[in-house]
Symmetry: C2
Subunit: 184 residues, 2 copies
């Protein structure tokens, strides 16, 4: 079983300070759609701010129960798996209840900042072994406590342009899920 | 050499009619960033509507020459490869000038509607052979003339949930470029 966590706290700003970032509407849509494509059971949207979690519920409600449901039915199938939670710990606990055991937690980072990482080939070959929660940071990426608290850290995405390391989190989620789970 | 074309006409609406779709700001950003990551030389944003192409120029200008350039320098490196053009034919011609010969044109579709497609493994192994323009449709995908006019059509992205076929174009571009060019 796979789950995704999209983290808005604790994440880094451009200077490395820890911040709480704002929910981005299109992140919720794109990542819910990509998650559903690859069989993710949940997309936890992590924010400690009540009004931000309410925003996620409103987006979800529009597509799952509101006017969007009939207009684009496929959107409902993606958005119904979205769950706002207050912390990464809450996401891990909720996914553990769903999976019947504590999940393995794998963080992601464009810059591992010296940490050991798991190569995609290894991650892919062991991915089905146990329930896994993949954790993605918004803004300039997950802050140190979120990386250090995970059971593992996936390798950064290596493009062809070595000097360019600036994918959107929406694109990074798509590439990582396809590398771990896509048909070969 | 690789180029990308993001097409807003001719594309389909939800009922299959041919329409001209509106430029989406985040498409330009995300796909420019993904393109740069995988070494794409150009992102042609195709719209026959003058005001829409001007919008693309304004977005590009903000990051390449305006206030955005200093705030997020990496964004400049992505957006400077964006070029608005009036038609897919113009995109092919402009990319041909850049590449020094007419490029191979490969279309993409979530639903090939009965057409023969190129498997990703085959596409990957021949990708470096000649300059290739990858063509992506917005809205509900490229209309028939855009598919029929291409030299080939890539296979649809096969996720794990067979009944769900509803990726954003932003996510589809990321997955396809990684399948064709990502490290293995």
């Amino acid at each position: 079983m796979i789950g995704l966590a999209l983290v808005h706290y604790p994440v880094r700003d451009g200077k490395g300070a820890t911040i709480s970032s704002a929910i981005t509407n299109i992140d919720v849509h794109d990542i819910a759609r990509t998650g559903r494509t690859y069989g993710s059971a949940r997309l936890f949207v992590v924010s400690p701010i009540d009004a931000q979690r309410e925003l996620v519920q409103r987006i979800r409600g529009h597509w799952v129960e509101g006017a969007g449901k009939d207009r684009i039915p496929a959107r409902k199938k993606a958005l119904e798996r979205v769950a706002p939670v207050a912390s990464l710990e809450d996401a891990i606990a909720a996914f553990g209840e769903l999976a019947g055991r504590r999940p393995r937690v794998w963080a992601t980072a464009a810059n591992p900042r010296g940490r050991e990482t798991i190569a995609f080939a290894d991650a892919r070959s062991t991915f089905a072994d146990e329930p896994t929660l993949l954790v993605f940071g918004t803004a300039h990426g997950l802050a140190d406590p979120a990386l250090d608290g995970a059971d593992g850290l996936l390798a950064p995405i290596d493009g062809l342009d070595d000097e360019f390391n600036h994918l959107s989190v929406r694109s990074a989620v798509a590439i990582i899920l396809d590398r771990l789970l896509g048909a070969r």
